[in-house]
Amino acid sequence: MFRKLLSKLGEYKKFALITPVCMILEVIAETITPRLMGLLVDNGVEKGDISYIIRVGIMMLFCALFGLAAGLAGGFSAAKASTGFARNLRKAMYGNIQTFSFSNIDRFSTAGLITRLTTDVTNVQNAFQMVIRMSFRAPFSLIFAMTAAFLVSARIARVYLIAVVILAVIIVTIMLSAMKSFRQVFKKYDELNATVQENVNAIRVVKAYVREDHEKSRMYKACENIYKLFVNAESKVVLNGPVMMTAVYTCILVISWVGAHMIVSDELTTGDLMTLLTYCMNILMNLMMLSMIFVMVSISMASGERIVEVLDETPDIVNPENPVTKVRDGSIEFEDVDFSYYKESEAPVLKDITLKIKSGETIGIIGGTGSGKTTLVNLICRLYDVMQGKVKVGGVDVRKYDLETLRDNVAVVLQKNVLFSGTIYENLMWGLGKKAGSEITEEEKEECRRACRLACADEFIEKMPDKYDTYIEQGGTNVSGGQKQRLCIARALLKKPKILILDDSTSAVDTATDAKIRRAFYEEIPDTTRIIIAQRVSSIMDADRIIVMDDGRIDGIGTHEELLNNNDIYQDVYESQMGERDFDRPGTEVIAYA
């Protein structure tokens, strides 16, 4: 995992290497200072040599300046290395996500991908910076101080060594056990927040059923639980301080005792004693620091793992070698197609689909939720690959096409469709394959307007103050559902596809407009194969053929009249919708721009 992450350091590698070097230089400066102090005491103070004191003092000041320079350089390079690292990680992840197929995206979920690109990268960035700055500094500082202590007095340095080992064992034990408890706490803490979230979302249900007290008592219990876990976890951490203090004080007292004996018997000078006491603090402090690094790294480990998952994911669908770059016509063929989203799942979503659609035909698809309608059409433009069998477009297996060619010729208006922030023109330009923000020519504008007329979107666009230059907010929140759907249809039409697939794309459009759009298709783009998935029978009634899907199979194919005669499901649906009209929908149009 670490290797994979670090390989993304790229041009910032040198900064990542410079940082520890600078940190080590800083440590050297810091280690020399107490030693100079000792000399100053022994040779200066005790002998009353003021000029020596000033000489050594100036050396110490130089040490400080040197340390400052090294520290600044280290700080600068650490910032560059860690933020650059984060930049490269984001870039690599985002780049890889662009190659993902639908099934890859499904596996991670949208929210999951966003978290990985944002929070997780920040966590890794912080931990990385901490590591390159501190994880070399602390042990080196510890080793230098220890070596210096040994040089001054091996006997006393041995006391430190013992203290370090004992302390390390105790602190690691405490930290490990505390981390385990904290993980538990945070899990419960998330659960607590989930409960609150549930309550905020479902407040109407809570109030309607007068369950405020019930919810409160649930919350009390959860809070009590968190309280206990937190107290338990923090009680462990709280041991750190006293343990550390005990170690420091014991060392100081032992050194005082041993040192006093040594000084008296002339094995040690007073200056040495003062030097050693400073090193004592240095060593034990650095040990504490190390344990903190340890905790931080292990916390951000989970983030690192999540990032590597994205980096390691290979796209399920890639361009074939020597791809076909021309689509002959809009004919579609399914040959014994089986499909399921997860390889291991037993029940396939589609089973034994065999189907031939002629170029220029209009096909309606109807069926209950989960019957496989969307799945079926998603196979046509190879958003997913079949498990078994073949899907052919224009007589050629879809897996042989260049993906871009295929998707330019097979336009899908997805069920969950989105518009992007930008003007209407900019959004429509997606269909022409042009980047948003670039100059739009008059002809292209005319083309956009034509597509909007076809999709019956022109009527509401013309009523907007800025017309086609109206800015669409993120997520398309400033247009109504029906308007959004019509814009999405227009965007797809601009591709001039040979096959146009509408996946429940007019559900929020009122019946009359829906009919008008279909009429426009019939008159203006008669050669395009049209596949329309709908809930409303009225949307597909006049199709050349209608496919009734049920439980992943084709239950019946035929014209409206044929199916009314021989298909039970179709009869059922038709009857239940007989004369049905939507009472809300026409109104949405009025409200949105009233």
Partner: protein, 643 residues
């Protein structure tokens, strides 16, 4: 479904403390309240915490002063003596060891006590917050984004946690440490103290300059991070559309631009945070060196009784002073940040709760042979409104039947803008009333008035002849069952979710309700049946199944009045047919208000109300309305009248 994001792990407190300080209206007042909320219930604890901190600091200071004695009183006099006497030193070391043990113990004690104080007060804050929130009127939730409310719990309470459990005790500790070190320093040598303090001043000035410089970069980093995150969110949400339009390359180009921008500002911001440490550390070293030089000279000249031992102690003090001073300036920033969070927490706590001046209550009742109602202790299946009349000090009982009457009702969310005008509805027990009309016509609003989620401006609503303003809200709502379009389920088993409608229902009653709603068959097929745990908002179930559960939940409550607000709209027509039977069974004998856009759901209503812009423009049965050839007829036949 609400998005579940993993908790942000907060690291690098320095980084946050470096950010710009938020502006607060009355920080002193908020701070005072924060203290009283956090420590008010733990006065004795806090007393001991303070004693502990003082003791621990004093013991540490005493330990450092021991350096002086060690060198001056014990080591120096013994040097050169042929038979040095170590007894005095042994005794001194034991004495000081006892002092240090006291210090360690008191540190442990106050830290441990602090856990109980901070976690205890956090528990109190969380529960109080939740309690207050549950009592807020629906309008609060309508006018505040759920994200903002959640952030009070996740972010703001979390910063409070940090401040209460870590920052406050540390701050106290730092202050006491600084004061006692300063006193000791002055006792050792006043001129050297001045040297130290002047360096502290330099340090504070330096960090102030750095913070000033860095905070502008931080603001920039924050806004660019926001821009990039926003872009990522938008693009990832639309990733499938990007794929369909083969727009990957373009999406990459824009991303790179934003990513590079963020890198530059993040680099700058981090740079300044990182230099803070070395600058302070080395300035500390300079201060140390200066004291060493001056102190050494003092010791040689023995200025004002300054000895070598004094120098040893003073140098340690010099080191120990820098740390808490840096901490104080950082912690001060953290406290200010947390005050902003605390302010939001208190604001939510201070919101006006839903008022309930109702006094008519719902009680179990028994009917005697003459048809007189009397109150009963046990559940009888017969309910009555207990109505106390103050005027003549009498109590009357009215049977709960489900008779709802709207009398010339006007309503607006604010007084200025009335959204419902002159609504007259009369629903006798068992009647089915349907509302039809475009989005925003006011259908849902009417139902929100019956259960008093909102209060009307003018007119009267009567329930079984009683003005609903006189009925206790809890009892009023208990007599109404609601099934909403968004089926909110709760984390727990299926059984618990159905039982939400009536907490004391037996397992048999739960199953009976599930059968009534046609939910029994799918539940039986789940791996653990009724004990299957559903998480989040019932994500593992299909929309239709969730809908069935919420119908079962309403069924078990067995209310005389039902409100079905688009209860079946997200179910396809075929599945709806299956549910319909359950719904029909459920509606039988109950006053039902239905909002739906599907004709099949409302066709057999006793009365259909056509709403437009807050007014009832047509009313009658399906046949009557068709005959009228008005708005309903046009909607029904699909011939749009120009709107």
């Amino acid at each position: 479904m609400p998005e579940q994001r993993p908790r942000e792990i907060k690291m690098g407190r320095g980084a946050r403390a470096m950010g710009p300080r938020p502006k607060l209206e009355n920080p002193g007042k908020i701070f005072k309240r924060l203290c009283s909320v956090s420590f008010g219930h733990y006065k004795i604890h806090m007393l001991f915490v303070c004693i502990g901190i003082v003791l621990s600091v004093l013991c540490t200071v005493r330990g450092t002063l021991f350096m002086k004695d060690l060198v001056d009183l014990y080591i120096l006099p013994m040097i050169g003596k042929s038979s040095p006497d170590f007894e005095a030193l042994k005794k001194a070391i034991i004495d000081i060891a006892i002092v240090l043990v006291v210090g360690i113990l008191s540190t442990f004690m106050y830290n441990k006590l602090m856990i109980y104080v901070s976690q205890g007060s956090l528990k109190r804050i969380r529960t109080t917050l939740f309690e207050k929130m549950e009592n807020l009127p629906i309008s609060y939730f309508d006018t505040h984004s759920h994200g903002d409310i959640m952030s009070v719990y996740t972010n703001d309470v979390d910063t409070m946690r940090q401040v209460i459990s870590q920052t406050m005790p540390q701050l106290l500790n730092s202050v006491i440490t600084v004061v006692s070190i300063l006193i000791s320093m002055i006792a050792l040598s006043f001129p050297l103290t001045l040297v130290t303090l002047s360096m502290v001043g330099v340090m504070l000035l330096a960090s102030k300059a750095v913070v000033k410089k860095s905070s502008s970069f931080f603001v920039k980093q924050q806004s660019e991070l926001g821009a990039l995150n926003g872009y990522i969110e938008e693009m990832i949400e639309g990733q499938k559309v990007i794929k369909v339009f083969c727009h990957e390359k373009q999406a990459l180009g824009d991303f790179d631009g934003l990513n590079d921008k963020l890198f530059i500002s993040a680099n700058n911001a981090n740079k300044y945070v990182n230099v803070m440490g070395p600058i302070n550390a080395q300035l500390g070293n300079v201060s140390y060196v200066l004291v060493a030089i001056v102190g050494a000279i003092f010791a040689i000249k023995n200025v004002l009784g300054f000895t070598l031992g004094s120098l040893a102690s003073f140098l340690t003090f010099n080191r120990n002073l820098n740390m808490p001073i840096n901490q104080i300036s950082q912690q001060f920033n953290t406290v200010v940040m947390a005050l902003a969070g605390a302010d939001r927490v208190f604001k939510l706590m201070d919101e006006e709760p839903e008022v309930d001046e109702g006094y008519v209550t719902l009680v179990n009742a028994v009917k005697d042979e003459q048809g007189n109602l009397t109150e009963s202790e046990s559940r009888t299946g017969l309910w009555a409104w207990k109505h106390y009349h103050k005027a003549d000090d009498t109590t009357t009982y009215v049977e709960l039947k489900g008779d709802v009457v709207f009398n010339d009702v006007d309503f607006g969310y604010t007084d200025e803008k009335i959204v419902l005008h002159n609504i007259d509805i009369s629903a006798t027990p068992g009647m089915k009333i349907a509302f039809v009309g475009s989005t925003g016509a006011g259908k849902t609003t009417i139902t929100n008035l019956i259960n008093r989620f909102y209060d009307i401006q003018d007119g009267k609503i009567r329930y079984d002849g009683i003005n609903i303003n006189k009925i206790k809200k809890a009892d009023l709502r208990r007599s109404l069952g609601i099934v909403l379009q968004d089926t909110h389920l709760f984390t727990g088993t299926i059984k618990e979710n159905i039982r939400y409608g009536r907490l004391d229902a037996t397992d048999e009653e739960v199953i009976a309700a599930a059968k009534l709603a046609n939910a029994h068959s799918f539940i039986r097929h789940l791996p653990k049946g009724y004990d299957t745990v559903i998480t989040g908002d019932g994500g593992s179930l299909s929309q239709g199944q969730r809908q069935l559960l919420s119908i079962a939940r309403a069924a078990i409550a067995d209310p005389p009045v039902l409100i079905l607000d688009e209860a079946t709209s997200s179910i396809d027509t075929r599945t709806e047919k299956l549910i319909q039977q359950g719904m029909d069974k459920l509606m039988k004998g109950r006053t039902t208000f239905v909002i739906a856009h599907r004709l099949s759901t409302i066709k057999n209503s006793d009365c259909i109300m056509v709403l437009e812009q807050g007014r009832i423009i047509e009313r009658g049965t399906h046949e009557q309305l068709l005959e009228q050839k008005g708005r309903y007829y046009h909607l029904y036949t699909g011939n749009q009248i120009a709107s």
